[in-house]
């Protein structure tokens, strides 16, 4: 029986879908069976980031409606056979979801996969509530800036009051990914540092991902950055994927600037 992880953020554009794609691939590379489900109905883009847009035949809503069975709708990744993908419907809107049908779909997916990862829509509307309703755990993606933190805080508050697990008296485990960190900006105080963010949100840290210019191109190409071993963001996602799979990986300090030789010499004479 697999576990359901919802990837949420509250605010849009913080890298939620990118994180979902990379973590899915990363977990699959650790020999676990993963399915990524795009819950952003009406605005799907996980298919593009995974490079699977031209393979989508049936979507999640069609499976729920019984127009297609799950096997027909699941798309196998070209990169890893452990990774499958279920697309969101692009033509419908969020109102087509209802609790019963979401639960049935997730139960079916849980019986076949070790990890069921849901890419939540931005915002806190019904689409978001259905994403978190049956989640066992949540990964919260934030950027080191105040509006992202506040929206994430709001999203966590809703998670803590509306998820089924909480209603049953259990706790939804919450993990934080701080995305798009620029060391120099953290050092200069323009960006919040991770301690401040953790103090505000009061959840466990899963990993920090540095800003990486390669991410945009990777998304455009449909080849998630985790496949590029030289990329700093890709390496960060690899570490996070390993942590999700239960390995102990040291937390890298990506917030201190990498001081070059010249800067070090300068520092000696100051």
């Amino acid at each position: 029986m697999g576990i359901v992880i919802a990837v949420i953020s509250g605010k849009g554009g913080v890298g939620k879908t990118t994180a979902t794609a990379n973590l899915g691939l990363g977990i699959a590379m650790n020999d676990e069976k993963v399915v990524l489900v795009d819950f952003d109905i009406g605005q799907r883009n996980l298919d593009m980031i995974l490079g699977l847009e031209n393979r989508v035949v049936y979507d999640m809503v069609q499976v729920m409606d019984g127009e297609a069975n799950l096997k027909q709708a699941l798309i196998k990744s070209k990169v890893s056979t452990n990774l499958s993908f279920l697309a969101a419907s692009q033509t419908k809107d969020k109102t087509v979801l209802d609790s019963q049908r979401v639960k049935e779909l997730l139960d079916e997916l849980k019986s076949e996969f070790d990890y069921v990862i849901l890419d939540a829509p931005a915002g806190i509307e019904s689409g978001y509530e259905h994403t978190i309703e049956f989640a066992d755990a949540a990964i919260i993606v934030v950027n080191p800036e105040v509006s992202s933190i506040r929206d994430a805080d709001r999203a966590i508050g809703i998670l803590d009051s509306k998820s089924q697990k909480v209603k049953d008296g259990q706790e939804v485990v919450k993990y934080l990914i701080i995305n798009r960190i620029v060391a120099s900006m953290v050092q200069s105080g323009e960006m919040l540092n991770s301690e401040d963010i953790l103090e505000i949100l009061n959840i466990k840290l899963l990993g920090k991902v540095p800003e990486d210019k390669g991410v945009i191109d990777a998304s455009n190409q449909g080849k998630p950055i985790i496949l590029n071993e030289k990329s700093v963001a890709g390496q960060a996602y690899q570490r996070i994927a390993k942590r999700i799979c239960g390995q102990t990986v040291k937390m890298e300090d990506i917030e201190s600037e990498n001081k070059g030789l010249m800067k070090k010499l300068k520092g000696m004479f100051q």
Partner: protein
């Protein structure tokens, strides 16, 4: 002599604005058609004509033989309500005194108050966790917060204690408290003789845990 006794339903009214009177009766005709309409005060020919045309039974300026007039009942009711209100006020005042003296109904909470969440407390509150930006905490009594506050707090008690919180929005008994006045590690905000007085309880250096 023969006599019969009837109980008649009476609608008592007076004509203020003739247009309104007519439109009101037009709209509620079904309700009034079997009643005796008693018009107190002036009854103009126009209204009389109208009532006749609607074949409504009417009478003008009748002193009802009841022991108490409607005004009397109304007055009595108002008096009773005022008395009740005053009693409630006295009770509330007593409760307030008791609460401030005994720290009555003190609630202790240790949950983080996140953006969008509301904590509304009747009585005193001791909060041992953060209030995040976009959250709201409201107490009718005293409020003590030991952690950082970035949200909105509304305290209507006799005092509140709060640390240095530059981002908080603090309303104490309806008055906004200037964050710059809360420089110390822990500050006490009190209402004494209708004046808000802020005193430092713990200075910055001291580690409040």
């Amino acid at each position: 002599m023969k006599g019969k006794q009837y109980s008649v339903k009476v609608y008592e009214t007076s004509v203020g604005d003739e247009e309104r009177f007519i439109s009101f009766f037009d709209a509620n005709y079904i309700l009034f058609k079997d009643r005796l309409i008693v018009v107190q005060g002036e009854l103009s020919p126009r209204i009389e004509e109208y009532l006749k045309s609607k074949s409504l039974l009417y009478a003008n300026n009748i002193e009802f033989p009841s022991s108490r007039s409607r005004q009397d009942i109304q007055l009595e009711l108002e008096e009773k309500q005022a008395k009740e209100l005053k009693q409630q006020e006295i009770l509330a005042q007593e409760f307030n005194k008791l609460s401030s003296r005994l720290n009555n109904n003190l609630k202790v909470q240790d949950n983080i108050v996140r953006s969008g969440q509301e904590v509304i407390i009747e009585g005193d509150l001791l909060l041992l966790n953060r209030i995040n930006s976009g959250a709201r905490v409201e107490t009718s009594g005293n409020l003590i917060i030991t952690q950082a506050v970035e949200g909105d707090i509304y305290c209507n008690g006799n005092f509140m204690m709060i640390g240095n919180s530059p981002k908080a929005n603090i309303i104490f008994n309806g008055v906004r408290v200037d964050n710059n006045l809360l420089q110390e590690k822990l500050n006490k905000i009190e209402l004494i003789d209708n004046e808000i007085i802020i005193t430092a309880i713990l200075e910055k250096e001291i580690n409040w845990a």
